[in-house]
Symmetry: C2
Subunit: 298 residues, 2 copies
DNA sequence: TGCCAGTAATAGAGTTGAGCTATGGATCTC
DNA sequence: GAGATCCATAGCTCAACTCTATTACTGGCA
């Protein structure tokens, strides 16, 4: 006969109450049941745990030595059960997300904040990394979900949602662009532009869009960081083209932005997860919440 | 349904083999049994532990987090079982003894040594204390057994063995006492004696014995420590009376000793234990061994 | 595209064993 | 010495665990 947790619990109860009858009561079993449980445990361990007669129940020396060991064991186990129940009830949990920097600084904080209002026990681990790393982190399951652009190859990745992140034209308040009915490639080709560095994904999209339309941009200067491009627009050097999700635009009160009315001036934005892997309840819930937020804003 | 150790072991096996079939084999159960065990565990914890289809079995994130916890738990438990089995088989164990200093320095080390030859895994905790403390330590179960003199009051103490520690007359090699057929009170009353300090239990016995015989001792000087009394005998000041169990006598090669042929010149020596308390197997075995040794020597 | 091999899930039957009631036996109290 | 109290034992009942047989699903291969 193998030893069981019930036997260990019986041992703890008997050690605490120093009475089989009271121990049985506290465990809601009959007294003979407890007697047998203790005997089975003693048989499994091959040592006597209690010196007992009809008048007293006392731990033997070995029983005293085993008591704290078993106490810790049962305590740890109970803690695990409580823990998993909390996780299941979404009262507690860690959600790990990898996202492109633009997203991580833009829409994601908003989504996290509103999610935390409903689930105060949630903790987030957020990694802002480039597209290829987002994919890698999702693949290795180091994160629960990812928000990335570009193409997703491989069957081990599920695209939960795909929205388009439209490029915006950014201009100083009062600029003529603000009054146009639509912003098209024609407009863009006529104004001086502050473009992003050719190594950036934003520039790639812009170049591609101009190319496909057979037009040529009028670059006045280049910037590596969006914040720099914004500053140049503010300084009156020209206009710039940035993703609508970029937080940097709103950070500058004297500037305005409008979406560009052309599909090529947008990039795909994908919420991805690993195929066939279930996530902790809170992560699953946040995935829904994030998709909802993106659809709303998109 | 409560969670059980078998379920936890099933979880560990499945996590290790990443296959329900192989896990079932390693636990010597049928595959459906293991499937059910895992499902029950998941129900008890309210979380999914494996992402499984007919092609692969992988831990979920929560499963991965729980794995080391359960591993440690089962490991600890198995260690406890191994431990208690070793104790039961007397391959390991601690024996705690309290004894009068004379015993602790005399017969006890011999008994321990011969016992260790048969049981190499034994460890001893030895306390050399006065009679009243021996009793106290046995009573409080701080030691498994005690060796003490004097009276033992109270029903909570069992006298396992009682032998008499006979007083010896200690004399220089070649002294006339060595040639007498018997050493009696008459002999003692005629020779100059080095007596122990009145505060010692040895002196108490000697005084009592002389008193009951209506004789008077011829004290030439007093010593607090037996070693001092021995030194005085060696110096020729007189003879002394010490317990036969005293190691100090044998430590001096030029001296000899003989038992005194009178019951009053002896003290009771008791091996005691707490009534109704069982001891670890090795302690119980040593108790037997010690009693055997004492009977042999007495 | 469909078949085959391999694996987990399900269903139903049988058996083990855990718990309960009733009772016995021992010990302390009055 | 009688009664009360408490642990141990015995026999019964039933729940749950495990097994066999089978189904359902997935991925690889022709």
């Amino acid at each position: 006969m193998d030893l069981s947790l019930r036997q260990i619990r019986a041992f703890l109860a008997a050690a605490q109450t120093r009475s089989f009858t009271r121990a049985a009561e506290s465990l809601h079993v009959a007294q003979p049941t407890l007697t047998v449980q203790i005997r089975r445990l003693e048989e499994a361990l091959a040592v006597k745990l209690f010196d007992r007669n009809t008048r007293s129940v006392e731990l033997t020396r070995i029983g005293r030595e085993l008591l704290p060991v078993f106490q810790r064991m049962v305590h740890d186990l109970d803690a695990v059960v409580v823990d998993t129940h909390e996780i299941a009830a979404m009262r507690r949990g860690v959600v790990r997300v990898a996202a492109l920097p633009t997203i991580a600084a833009g829409v994601l904080p908003d989504a996290i904040q509103s999610f935390r209002e409903r689930h105060p026990g949630v903790t987030f681990v957020l990694k802002d990394v480039i597209a290829s790393r987002v994919l890698g982190l999702v693949r290795s399951e180091e994160v629960d979900l990812g928000v990335t652009g570009g193409e997703v190859k491989g069957q081990d990745i599920d695209t939960v949602l795909e929205v388009r992140d439209r490029m915006h034209i950014v201009f100083p308040q009062g600029h003529a662009v603000g009054d146009l009915p639509r912003v098209t490639i024609e407009t863009l080709a006529e104004v001086p532009l502050v473009l992003m560095d050719p190594a950036t994904s934003v520039r790639e999209i812009v170049d591609e869009a101009f190319l496909s339309a057979g037009r040529i941009a009028k670059p006045v200067c280049e910037a590596t960081y969006m914040m720099t491009a914004i500053a140049m627009v503010r300084a009156g050097l020209g206009l710039t083209i940035l993703p609508g999700s970029a937080r940097e635009i709103a950070a500058e009160p004297t500037l305005r932005s409008r979406p560009i009315d052309m599909l090529a001036f947008s990039r795909p934005l994908r919420v991805i997860r690993k195929t066939g892997r279930s996530l902790p309840p809170l992560a699953e819930a946040f995935l829904d919440h994030l998709c909802g937020t993106l659809v709303e804003k998109g």
